[in-house]
Assembly symmetry: D2
């Protein structure tokens, strides 16, 4: 992989010192997130979609070790030459790898050994940063963004794992926002978005993934976005109105999914004697009616929107509105702690970003003239462009600074273990 | 279902006499297609995706009986009040129905009884046509287009069924076009399409499905379409070059499908001692190198396009070019007989229509401001708008006159028992 | 397959004329059973366990054609050399074959063609019988017993197929015994069986399968058999007492089966507005409380026996008692018609044979010194000796004359589409 | 559960002191076996058939806590009243429980917490032993035998888990017996067994499970057992002779299993550049040709026996011969360490016991007049009496002193993660 120009174009990068500080800060957050975990907590895998915390910690290090140190630092010796087989995720060009559904069987190496791996990679990276920053600063930036994505996955995978434990363990004590709240969010207001020809996609300058490029024009018909996210309180009304039992509200695939899986509420909800509870990284908690609904599938989001007389926004509509906002606003991840969506104050000043990823009605497909990066990192985004839907905006588990208006997250329409919610749209 | 205005808007319909003639002609073709079949041929179902010929014949009649006669002809009595349970396909609003994968177990009613049902429905329809044409001509037109869709499915389902029989039975003797052909198609030429803002969707006037509306603008970047379809000869080169064994060519879902299903050629192909053969409605035949490749999945189409240094067209690109063409051109279905794709003469005069449905790179999603029809017929198209891809152009099994530029066919990316092929596109 | 001595030892066979008469009579019954069926009825397959009627008719003919005509009649030419691939059931030594779950897709050859095949095989067999009877009378006898087994399967497979049709079609009008019957069977009486050392297995003389040999000694502890079969009325009490909801009554595998499949009654039962109905070859009929329960699995039989404070007999216990009875007694198949279990008069004179196959507590394993026959027919019985349980006694669908005390039928413990029931046993 | 008389009849039990010593010794072995494991090692579950080491350690303690302390020690308070839900295995009478395939998700409680649970149960047991030994010494003995069974499972489950790790971790360094051995075992000799009427089953006196009773007579025909186990060297000849590719050697269910699972060698074997290796608790090791073959299924054992011109012994034949031997002979488990089958010296003095469990040809069914114990412990054995086969003799992972001639182990015919092998038998 000689040169990486396409995916991580960056006209003028930060200084080696700034990059090293950024590297150290982001790497440290991963370890802080894993700090409360036992070796067993960090090893178990609750479903094929999820990965063990230990695996996340190692995989992101493998990324730096393979694509930066091995490929660009002459004489670098692998920490353990058997580990790439274990910690390659899906890069076909990097050779065969451990089967994804079996990641939870890797009791060795231990969490301590993985932390030692991280320390060794960090030492090598920081030692070599003056040289490396010049030769492959873009790759390092890609690796850091990659690690931030896995920080979010580490949290949602961990939440899913613990939710499978009848003891309902807590990782962190509940923060104030998780206290039950009888108050509901105010009614939805609508903000008109830009219509006609608009520009979509990354304009260059700062880091962006290859799938956000190239910038291009789309034509929008008049529309408006809701000024707040759909809340748990809204969702209770959908349930009470028979939303999960009304075939006519659902896409055909969605209805089949509801019937086959026996879906009757968002993931991580359960009925308690005195109302609904939701599982969190602080264990089971009373449902906060004013907080945004999370852990819903695209199918549920679509059915809800139809029930509410509205629809999902397209990714272009959402981006066209978000472009003028500060992407680091709203509820996002600042430090290790009790991550959860929180009630927001709607209205003029409220942010489109944070709290929950917002399902759009847009299938995840390439932009016109999209080109995947050359080499193994070209498998990062492009090969997933079928069957999935785009989500926008970041969540309470997205490291602050990682999201932006052109960011395209994507999941299959039935997946819901991420912090996924929705914001309504309508035609004008 | 009081009024149907949205889905089948038709400013000025044909005269009752013209509609009756059209009704009789289309209904007769269904029976002609089934004429060579035994009761058993017409009853068996080779997979859940397919339906028995007998079921198609009955289901399209149930459509007329339910939505026209029962709903609009006072005093009409059902032919058999147990049959709607058998012959409703997927209309949730019409109540419960026989499980799709069990359609092949309906040895009763017999083919003769189903033909009697058709005759009874036809008699009632034609008797009442003067009245019905006025009150619900649009519904009748919808029913006729619906029947044409099932004519195509009847042929492809039948082809699949017979392909499962080790005897390789023929329904019709091979036509001249199916003879082996050593010659190959000429190299691909490219036709530039319109760029900038273009109008997409049905402009009204003649019949169109709800999913083709409303007309709207999209912005296209400069592109070109190939002047011919990809052929069997082209596909042999893809195979010879290891196309099915090269992970980097495939979407991630596509590669998983190739591996799990052991895919190594289009459907209905087999190796014979002296080359490849393909199964047809005339039994196994030598592969015609100059004929368009058929029975490929979206995944295969996408992988081939990448291998060829090109890409799939978007549905908007295809439609923008096709709009100026006669949609009744090319190889389409005129009468019962040995339906199969045929070698075409590329170049200026060649048609974008016919031969094989062309996979596009567009996920099947609603147009801006799309509204499904009210009532049960509103389930016709809208509820399938997830997970599928759009195909354009009609095939050798599409009744001539049924296709048009704005027509949106859709299938899941792994499905390939239809006459599905591809035409390449590229950026300019 | 030069000589077949082991499996069908027959000291002195019947005359060629007698064998020919027997051949003609048995073959004719198969055709009489299929006479009411349409081509479609005879082609469809309702589940992998079942086969189409047409397939049964052809397969038993393939058996004669392969193992008698082809192997023993010099110069014989196959009726169609592509058909052995279609109609071989499971004989690995005979080469590859059509996949069992796909038998229902063989719409060709037609029922008429299969009947022509039968006629051709019969003509060849009867022509050659004087010669063949001498050279391979034992094989012919095996073929006739084989055909009788398939006569029973044809009936139970057909019953299952029609039960899947919401129209509930009838093949024959209901006989008098199928009328609803308010009366119940009298209480169970007990007959003591022989204890100590007893002889089990075929003593030779008449035809027997290889799995009934050799005769050997077993030691029995004192026991008694019920003087009647468990009835539908008995079964209703089991249901009313929560039998299907009481884990403690069930084998572990059985309980898993009940839970996974949602089992709550015998197969072919349904609740109607005024009580239970059972499906029969005469369509849906009111449940006859005095008739033996049928269509239960081994798991259900075992759970019922425990609930009733009794147990299943072993196959040796059953055989030790049955040995002194006439095996052609009881309700068995005499001619084509409305086959169904019927209420019996219990007591001294009642037969252990007929009505329903009786599940025993004995796993189907080889007798001491069992030897399978040489050649392909050696696959007849021996290779199925794992995972199945033995049933004794024959049923209403067993051709009279086919059963005997040493006869070992066998099915998997969850299978219940045969006429399977039970007779209780207890320790003394 | 008022009285337990049937399952654990023990005319005169050991003194409380002796029982306490035995209790302490057996409990300590469990902890010694788990001592080399990390929290993660002890938590992971490699397949639904297996359980985590931590779960085994807790489950056997739950057994004592529930059936002894809770039921018989007035005023006993549960260690944690949420844990019975986690650590009940399959006792329906004890209420609902954590799903078996999800045991590996129980990262909490930790291994340390489980060890604390063990300590607390041990303290309560030993405190109360003087009283408890009198009131329920039989239950305690049952609990100790139960714990010994789980010691064996802990080892085989752990071996399976580590075999799934590409790093092939070792728990203990290889013992001398695991060194590669070019020498082969000598040819098989045959020992004639007792024929005619023999007594089978537990005669009382010492502990036995309910499924070994009551003692009863069976009639055996003349037979002989091989004087040694089948070895890895023997198995290589079976492979070389095409054993896994010859349909005629296999039971029908076995052949389907071989084809579907792609079976071509025993479990835990792999080909290396210079011959075969087998996975052990000391990692991957060269195959020892003289050692008994292990990790084969019943299907494989049966196919091998047929290939070798022999057969599997029945459980009665095996027991009739073993009755006169010392059951504590042979290679069995004495202490924590590198457990593995070892080459044995065949001949007169060699033991029928130890090394590998020996598949018999006997389906696991109840003995005549078998009665399961009353109460929840009655689910221990009886409910598994369908679909499984009996194994005899104990293995290298069976705690010495646990096995006896009447002992009936049982597994499904496809299972092979235990130390399962075979000894041939033949008719005389």
């Amino acid at each position: 992989m000689a040169t990486i120009t396409d995916p991580i174009r960056r006209p003028a990068g930060p200084s080696p010192e700034a990059l090293a500080r950024r590297y150290a800060r982001i790497r440290a957050l991963s370890e802080a997130l894993a700090a409360p975990l036992s070796d067993a907590d960090a090893t178990a895998q609750s479903m094929p979609d999820a990965s063990p915390a230990k695996w996340h910690l190692a995989h992101v290090s493998w990324f730096f070790e393979s694509f930066v140190l091995r490929d660009h630092l002459p004489g670098y010796r692998l920490f353990d030459d058997r580990w790439p087989y274990l910690f390659n995720s899906y890069y076909e060009a990097e050779g065969p790898r451990h089967a994804r559904p079996q990641r939870g069987l890797l009791t060795r190496p231990s969490l301590d050994e993985v932390l030692a791996y991280r320390a060794a990679v960090d030492a090598a990276m920081l030692d070599a940063m003056p040289l490396l920053a010049e030769r492959c600063g873009e790759l390092i930036e890609l690796g850091l963004n990659h690690e931030q994505q896995h920080q979010e996955l580490l949290l949602t995978d961990l939440k899913h794992l613990l939710s499978c434990n009848p003891l309902g363990p807590a990782v962190w004590p509940a923060g104030p926002a998780l206290r039950a709240c009888a108050d509901e969010a105010p009614p939805v207001g609508w903000r008109e978005g830009p219509a006609g020809l608009v520009e979509i996609g990354d304009r260059g300058g700062d880091f962006a993934f290859d799938n956000e490029r190239p910038v291009h024009k789309v034509h929008l018909t008049p529309f408006a976005l809701a000024d707040r996210l759909v809340t748990n309180g809204d969702w209770l009304r959908f349930i009470a109105d028979g939303g999960y039992a009304t075939a006519g509200l659902w896409l055909s695939d969605g209805w089949a999914w509801v019937r086959q899986e026996g879906i009757a509420s968002p993931l991580h909800w359960r009925r308690a004697s005195d109302g609904w509870e939701q599982f969190s990284l602080s264990g089971w908690q009373p449902l906060d009616l004013a907080a945004p609904v999370a852990h819903i599938s695209f199918y549920e989001a679509d059915a809800f929107a139809g029930w509410a007389g509205a629809r999902l926004p397209t990714e272009q509509e959402w981006e066209a509105v978000a472009r003028s906002q500060d992407p680091s606003g709203g509820v996002q991840l600042d430090e290790a702690g009790p991550v959860a969506p929180q009630a927001e104050a709607p209205g003029e000043g409220s942010s489109l970003f944070g709290n929950v990823w917002q399902w759009t009605g847009s299938a995840y497909r390439p932009y016109p003239r999209f080109r995947a990066a050359a080499g193994a990192v070209g498998e990062y985004n492009g090969k997933f462009m079928s069957g999935q839907f785009v989500l926008k905006g970041g969540s309470c588990a997205t490291p602050r600074g990682h999201a932006r208006a052109s960011y395209r997250n994507f999941f299959y329409p039935q997946q819901r273990w991420q912090f996924t919610g929705l914001r309504l749209a309508k035609d004008l």
